[in-house]
Symmetry: C2
């Protein structure tokens, strides 16, 4: 069991409807030492891949991307969920469906910050059905950027988003994969390599 | 001239309507080495104040808060701008007016993560009129938490939000204070102590 799985068992809470609450250390109050370990784990996996840029989506991916980019010594960029007056000029846009809120929204990224010479590591805190990730992959495709890997803190394995991306050939690294949470009992997928 | 003022002059862009664009290194694409220097500067200023928690607001404050909290070795927490299903239980709420988008919005913070025993450093990337900061101060007041200081990357000095807070007795540290940007000419306030 790795550091993140241990922390989830210690401080995570399972709620009805397959909801896993980790707001005490990962996505509302944040324990930076955990983020630092997450960033280091992604660096151990992708540090030799020639990554030029870390890509994430606001808001809860930002802190993990920041601590990860610190290891890689490359800039990170985050897609915005709303049309922002803070973005200049041309943007890449992709439409994403949120199951949590049952609505579509657009994500945008300035064309200045992603291009064909980029080798990208995409980072997010959670993956379930993978809809937001498909939006980020769509933006990489529009930019002509190469996706070297996808780094996720917690994947809900039973919602299949991660495994579908693996079948499509993406290198997906999730530090904790929850394969089942029935009766509030968390079952992590065995991942020997991590 | 400090590292941030130099970087603003090098990579910032002034747009009509007193808009300062720093999206190439601070709030869309992010240069983590700059954030690391910002975090270190806040630690040099407030490191001996017994800070127990860093507080910020999504989204663009998150990365700076993360790198700052790393120096302080304390957790950080970010107020959310929308009612989120990811927050459990009781929340502190404050209403904020956005001049950029000319609308009111609520910010929320779980009551679990701020309380009377906390000594808080509030962090944000920008301060202009200070409306978002008043929302964060209101939440600290509701929580009974002590505000030890306010750390801002870039303050628009001519919009007075920072100086009003200083008059009220708050310890506001802005690493770059833009006192004028007329005719696209940036004038920084002299701050010998930084």
């Amino acid at each position: 069991m790795n550091f993140l799985e241990e922390r989830i068992l210690k401080d995570g809470h399972v709620r009805p409807g397959n909801i896993l609450k980790v707001d005490s250390f990962l996505n509302h109050q944040i324990d930076v030492s955990v983020l630092d370990q997450i960033g280091e784990a992604f660096y151990n996996k992708y540090g030799s891949c020639g990554i030029t840029r870390i890509l994430t989506i606001e808001s809860s991916g930002i802190a993990i991307a920041a601590l990860t980019a610190r290891y890689f010594k490359v800039p990170f960029v985050f897609a915005k969920k709303a049309k922002s007056k803070n973005i200049d000029g041309d943007v890449f846009t992709s439409r994403v469906h949120s199951y949590t809120y049952d609505k579509d929204y657009d994500i945008t990224l300035s064309k200045k910050y992603l291009g064909p010479s980029d080798k990208v590591l995409i980072i997010d805190d959670f993956m379930a059905t993978g809809k937001a990730m498909h939006g980020l992959l769509d933006i990489c495709s529009q930019a002509g950027a190469e996706v070297a890997g996808i780094g996720i803190a917690i994947e809900k394995g039973f919602q299949k988003g991660g495994d579908e991306l693996r079948k499509q050939g993406y290198e997906v690294t999730s530090l904790a994969i929850v394969d089942s949470m029935e009766d509030c009992n968390l079952v992590f997928r065995d991942q020997e390599e991590l």
